[in-house]
Symmetry: C2
Subunit: 736 residues, 2 copies
């Protein structure tokens, strides 16, 4: 009751003084999930990290009267970007920037505290200047760039610098001098296997711009769909898309939206293979035989290497390609056009007598030689229409002109080999974000390690890279969680210095960029409870299910299809456990790190405790013991949560038929946790484990290793470590 | 350890038998929020409720081999709807319906377990047949309808009937005979004050179709924006929209999408007032005076009654309207075109000498008379182009033709008056969902109460109603939470029998329809944590903030603008506490209901305890006491959560400048909770409260009544009830 009147007194006191000043204990709020401490404000929370930063001690205060003035000439991209900057900072801070709705060339108040100037409008081509200098003083923010593209990159940095203290919102004073390491920083989005609407594409463009990416590569055609309107050959999209395609007006809208954000749209038309969808309307362009050319073809509902392939020996095919690529060259302004070239299995060529005769007559002994013939003719057509050709590794063959751009999916060696021969290349091997790898796996995939023997000119031919979002297992429901926030780390690999590779700091900053990505519309986080609610059903508490999926990851690489015995199709429901699970379990990663550090601490204390340490060992050990205790407490907290989770989750699983597939996995998690707790207990008490215990622990671990519902339990390596340590520690004790 | 080996034994046992059968205690999972018990499966979880349902005891089992066959002729809407039905049920259940991707007219397997037939393609006009009969037996599901529109409505019911038991997913066997009560069931979406993309509109259409709505009324023009491309007068959208408008291709796409879902698109062009955006490009059509006609006009960034109004005395204006509405009549296929007509303040007419002279010459003494003159001419133009005119109450004046449709925003009396005079009407008064009213408020707003004196013919003239989503305070970030799930209850009011008005059952079913709405893309639930994370910042636990906002509602009616002293604009950041808060606090509502029931129980026991009850009173009272205990425990659980929440929330508030505005409110919540606990304690112990206690409680309550951050604390009425009861109970004791 005393407490109540203390509260009350403060309450009315504050009403008098008009401000809140109650001396509540400021203990940190407790949640189920321990949160890391708030970062030191002097630490930069920006991604990608700039090339050079000079931080000073001051603060530029953001006020609701803030405006932006754009100096220089008519660089239209900057006005839009500056307007978006104001709105996004307003949304974040609540500051009601009413003075200026849109930043426009008509603005006359040159005294704005935020000043942007750039010399010229940038050209949206490979290698354009994207550098900028950002200078923040307590009075002004000055962003200077050669091109408006550079100004856009600077604004992306500036918005991430907004911070808060007791007095409100501010930007720390600093000078940033920045430019990209690689000029080609992109992502491939496969819109053929699953289609994504114009709005979804636009949202991705907003997100890409935030992390300074500058290429969106649209994989527009494949066996599963032809996704762009052709006015010259309308049967292509009308019959090859199930009605899911971009009209040319849509595509112009996308291209304009991308241009405003400094992002190139590179279209891909995958040929001669991966092209079934072209032949629904035009079987005569396929290599099928007979009166119908193998028709009727059907839109492929499954995936893999497919047989339908374009006919490379018919002049009508080249006449068609000439007309079609003229049309597409006019629609897509980018210098590059991607013609695919991958994974032609050659079956239709082998079984077509005309093609076999042509190969003999023209001394083309292999399918590779014939494809090379096709590629050369296609490249000539593109060249005629003013485009450079881009393609996958397969187009890199003897004698191909050096104007092409090779995109390597097969490996880095292919990349360096091409560069040594004078070819331009970008890297995608190691950036296949459909394979459910962790963020650090992609982050540390360096296109140009120092160890690689390339001279300076050859190094310049490595233009950057692209993350690849193949969409076999991705639709609008889980797209964001597959791309984001992982791709932000890949963007940093392409933009920042090669030496920026501190994984822990990357993960720390990933939370900050993740928050901005979410604010700009990414549902990588928010869609998780949506999917959990659908799985759990109405009136179910989703927390136990969340606790469970939080330590899972979808099986890596190409295992998912194998596990369901290829019973997939375009119509496969992407709403299961493997879809809600994200590729990079934060909880499991943190627990694994914790376990490793704990075992190191334990070993250090054990080593020190044997009396072998030098003077000062006691003080040192006391600190170490405290650390060990904290580590053990954090571990046992989590292990107890998991140990009891199966019982908590069971009722929900029993009420939902589709959750049956995870019951065993859920039990495994509880058993692993129990095993982990026992291992810690034995380690700390220095008690030898029995052979029976090790046997049982081994069985549990082996069992848990089997994926269920196409997912793996990612704390498993940590439990294995603990069990092993408990075993060897006991060994050690026995030996002593 | 025993437990561990029990678990383990079960684990390996199950591996042998191949199924999970562990005897875990099936206690319900505990979460912070108490969940109501799972509903009896015989209870229908459908919204809107059908007119007639005969439930039987069987189950139709859903299998992954399920297919749909559509019989009858070429009713294209059904194929799309049946395909979507398969995908949505697949997404929900995980059943991989691979046999049939798209349901098409080419399907030849007539033995499908799901059979749909309809006699003819429905016309998308007012009053078209939307009835259907759905018969589910253990072997087949048969959906029969006169039109494909009826079949669509039946599919919406069917998908909501999917349920689960131990053996998998099923549909209960039943016969449903259903049709709508009102033929006009719509929503107005204001795309002028804030613009919404094509994708957002399409998503709303999906959601509307789920609850059997059949009209989307687009408020396309207003002072704040002209949102439709005009090819005849391109300056209208080019200069009046900030680039945010629907192209005609966009609109045709929307209309087609709506048609496929059986939804009419009714366009509104608000005239003669609410039309500033028209005059940016065409000042000559305004009633402004002088050489420039009052130009330059600017897109309005604020809102309210504005002065620019169309000039009703210039022939050029009617020539323009003739051309413009011809163009729009060709673009929009619906029979009705809405011309607004509301809130012309008449200022420009008063100050324009030509207009004053015209009024005198033509005996039009008032602005209403002049507007009537304008409306008549505009109606003649629409009629010439084949359209019926629709408008707000203001167009209902003496002598207006009976072909018009009146939309009443002013009140129900206006509606009945019009009907009595033979005019067609729909109701929007009471359905203004921008005013943050609770769901039951709208739900119980009956357009045609029995008490109203209208004859049968007059009753038929009340065609239904429209929810109105005015967008002053709504953008894409909070739109879904303003429309959904509340509008599902309004949809039920328009579709189901007038007698369906059980508020508790409506709220129960609202959770089920809410889950489906979420699955179809509504972010009414999922966007809450997104907004909370933005408010709280990176690495903050959002749970205390969520606990706090969960009992708030945004201030009702038009108070929000008043509270911020009209410092709003189109650019106002809609990311604050008042935006994340939803209009209808479930937690507060449940707590208020609980409090009411608790006080009734308490009174019953007190009355019974006095020895005045008949025989059997003891057994009865023992049951009552148990209920009372359960009620008290639930209440004190919540009150303790709220009591301690301020301390938990304080650190987050202190780290976020924009949360300063809620500190006092947060403290108020804790104090109210403390007061509530004390009241309960005194009530239960029968201790008299002191005058000092009542004084302090009164101060706390009065203080908490003041809105903060434009929100109200919705448990306040319950606390008031408790305090009052504690006071009067003490009075009662004193009197005895």
């Amino acid at each position: 009751m005393l407490r109540f009147y203390t509260l009350l007194f403060s309450y009315f006191a504050l009403a008098v003084v008009g401000s809140i000043s109650i001396a509540f204990a400021q203990k940190t709020a407790q949640s189920n999930i321990p949160t890391p401490p708030i970062q030191n404000l002097s630490t930069l929370n920006v991604m990608p990290l700039p090339q050079e930063v000079k931080l000073t001690a001051g603060k530029f205060r953001l006020a609701s009267t803030a405006t932006v003035y754009v100096g220089g000439g008519g660089h239209s991209r900057v006005y839009g970007a500056a307007s978006r900057f104001l709105r996004q900072v307003s949304d974040r801070t609540g500051l009601n920037f009413m003075t200026e709705g849109y930043v426009t060339p008509q603005d006359t108040v040159k005294s704005s505290p935020i000043q942007i100037s750039c010399r010229r409008a940038g050209k949206l081509v490979l290698g354009e200047d994207e550098s900028y200098t950002l200078t923040v003083t307590p009075q002004t923010i000055t962003l200077v760039a050669e091109t408006d593209l550079g100004a856009l990159r600077g604004l992306a940095t500036l918005q991430q610098l907004v911070a808060a203290d007791d007095d409100g919102y501010y930007v720390p004073t600093l000078v940033i001098t920045d430019k990209p390491r690689f000029p080609w920083r992109g992502i491939l989005l496969d819109v053929s296997r699953h289609f994504f609407s114009v709005d979804i594409i636009k949202k991705q463009l907003d997100l890409l711009a935030l992390v300074k990416m500058n290429v969106l590569h649209l994989h527009l055609t494949d066996d599963q769909g032809f996704r762009i309107e052709s006015k010259t050959h309308p049967k292509l999209h009308e019959m090859g898309s199930d009605g899911q395609f971009y009209t040319q007006a849509d595509m112009r809208d996308i291209i304009k939206y991308a241009d405003e954000r400094g992002i190139r749209i590179v279209p891909e038309f995958d040929l001669p293979g991966h092209s079934t969808s072209w032949y629904i309307g035009h079987p005569e362009f396929s290599s099928g035989t007979g009166a119908t050319f193998g028709a009727p073809y059907q839109i492929d509902r499954k995936w893999g290497r497919n047989s339908p392939v374009m006919n490379p020996v018919k002049e009508e095919v080249y006449q068609f390609l000439d007309v079609f690529f003229k049309e597409m060259s006019e629609l897509f302004p980018d210098e590059y056009m991607h013609i695919g070239g991958d994974e032609n299995n050659g079956v239709q060529w082998t079984t077509n007598p005309d093609i076999q005769a042509f190969m003999k007559a023209n001394n083309l002994p292999t399918k590779e030689a014939l494809q090379n013939h096709f590629s050369k003719r296609l490249q000539a057509i593109l060249s005629k229409h003013g485009k450079r050709t881009m393609g996958w590794d397969e187009i890199f063959v003897e004698g191909v002109p050096k104007t092409i751009m090779i995109q390597s999916w097969q490996g880095k060696e292919a990349l360096y080999k091409a560069a040594r021969q004078g070819y331009s290349t970008i890297l995608s091997h190691g950036y296949y974000i459909d394979l459910n790898q962790s963020t650090d796996f992609h982050y540390l995939n360096e296109p140009l390690p120092d160890s690689i023997k390339l001279n300076a000119d050859e190094r310049k031919l490595i233009y950057g890279g692209e993350a690849c979002m193949w969409s076999e297992w991705v639709n609008s429901g889980n797209l964001d969680s597959r791309i984001w926030p992982r791709t932000a780390a890949i963007a940093e690999r392409f933009w920042s210095a090669a030496s920026v590779r501190d994984v822990e700091d990357m993960y720390r900053r990933l939370d900050y960029i993740g928050a901005w990505l979410e604010q700009l519309g990414s549902q990588h986080e928010s869609n998780v409870p949506v999917m959990l609610r659908r799985l759990a059903g109405v009136n179910e508490d989703i927390q136990p299910l969340k606790t469970f999926v939080d330590v899972l990851e979808t099986v890596k690489e190409y295992r998912r299809g194998q596990l369901i015995r290829f019973a997939y199709s375009t119509f496969y429901p992407l709403t299961g456990i493997a879809d809600v699970v994200r590729p990079d379990s934060r909880t499991a990663r943190q627990f694994r790190n914790l376990t490793t550090r704990y075992l190191v601490s334990l070993k250090e204390i054990a080593d020190g405790g044997g009396g072998r340490s030098a003077s000062g060992a006691i003080a040192q050990d006391s600190g170490k013991t405290e650390i060990l205790t904290a580590q053990r407490e954090a571990m046992t907290y989590w292990l107890n949560v998991w140990k009891s989770n199966h019982e908590r989750l069971l009722p929900t699983m029993q009420r939902n038929p589709r959750l049956k597939e995870i019951e065993e996995h859920s039990l495994s998690l509880s058993l692993l946790a129990q095993t982990g707790l026992e291992a810690i207990d034995r380690l700390e008490r220095g008690v030898a484990v029995t052979a029976q215990w090790r046997h049982v622990a081994g069985l549990i671990i082996e069992r848990a290793k089997q994926p269920k519902a196409q997912t793996d339990i990612m704390i498993l390596p940590a439990i294995e470590q603990l069990v092993k340590a408990a075993g060897s520690s006991a060994e050690g004790k026995r030996q002593k």
